[in-house]
Symmetry: C2
Subunit: 224 residues, 2 copies
């Protein structure tokens, strides 16, 4: 009974890790599609999102089956419930990668991102992918420091988001309103994607410590 | 034991309904703040969001406690798990109302929404509030037809969102890039708010029928 239980728990965790990998990879490819106006790549990201959705439904069914069969309590119960919440975060990340790919498709054969914002969007895409890879690692090895590190790394995403707004609101902006709308939405998609990756890490912190990440952050630093 | 159980379940449902009411009301006030450049109202929406967040955490604790103490199975188990997912939707709706209020605050004493889009944004705000009220009703009385009706009513939100884009991408747009960015983001906030309200209703459909709303929608119509 216990062996089966741990196997089921591990399979839920593996499902989350797989979702994280798929979502991260999707955002990487969506960013390439956006920057290179690559329609084929955009279409492949858009059609691949069903896999992430299916994984989430499957994971939800398995979590509910595990709750029913094993009736876990305490830490184990919290682990399963938290898995459900994390799967929702990751499913949403798949959607956001799809949204970026749809922007690329909408403007094809034009490029949605003007030349002077390419580097910023590229960095947002790479950072999004990296944050998701970190979240996947934290899922595999629950490490509070590594999980809290994601919050710090996410600060860079906020900076990049501000860079976009500075460009948009600069009087010298000369790419018109359509491009402004595209870039505004793209910036929002990357920022939300990063938020969800951070949220996954936060939930791991809560599982390990029983405290919310913001409670830990306001604690005085531990003595060296 | 069963009496306590049903009381706990009812209290979770009441918590969800309260979250829906707070989120709906917040979006209504945020819309007024946005359209009237009312800073005080905007601030009150922004600071009230902690209540929705606290309700969500409380609800999560109670759901986990119920799972641990009562170890529900089958439909009851699904109900508790689904409540957790719905509370996440509703918490997010509170955030989105807060985002609208922050737009109002950011542009104060100017108005973020130009005159020719006032009516559209007003309708989006009212529709968002109405969808959330419908979601709350469906939580109180799980009715599949009423839940599916939300999906149809949400089509109007998509139409209004398209109206915004048509304005933005019209060559006669003369409100500049800053306003275009604000309106793009506002439109997105309303659309996402409505999506979450629909999502709550969809979960009720799943609870009642064991089928996802899109599965029901593709079924042939029942004979009259």
């Amino acid at each position: 009974m216990r062996a089966a239980y741990h196997e089921e728990l591990a399979s839920i965790r593996d499902g989350l890790v797989e979702m994280a990998h798929l979502a991260g990879s999707a955002m990487g490819r969506a960013t390439s599609a956006l920057l290179d106006a690559d329609l084929q790549l955009a279409e492949s990201v858009i059609s691949a999102d069903v896999t992430v959705d299916a994984l989430q439904r499957d994971l939800e069914h398995r979590a509910i089956a595990l709750l029913a069969r094993q009736q876990p309590v305490a830490t184990d119960l919290r682990l399963v419930v938290t898995s459900l919440r994390m799967s929702a975060d990751l499913e949403r990340c798949g959607d956001l990668a799809q949204h970026v790919a749809k922007l690329a498709r909408l403007r094809h054969p034009e490029r949605a991102v003007p030349g002077d914002l390419r580097r910023t969007i590229l960095e947002m895409g790479q950072l999004a992918q990296r944050l998701m890879a970190q979240a996947a690692e934290v899922l595999i090895t629950p490490d509070v420091d590594a999980a809290l590190q994601l919050e710090k790394d996410d600060d860079r995403m906020d900076e990049l988001h501000r860079v976009i707004f500075e460009h948009l609101l600069d009087d010298r902006w000369q790419h018109g309103v359509e491009t402004a709308v595209d870039v505004t939405l793209a910036g929002r998609y990357y920022e939300r994607f990063a938020d969800h990756a951070v949220s996954v890490a936060r939930r791991v912190v809560y599982l390990v410590t029983g405290k919310y990440a913001d409670e830990l952050a306001t604690d005085p630093p531990a003595p060296a």
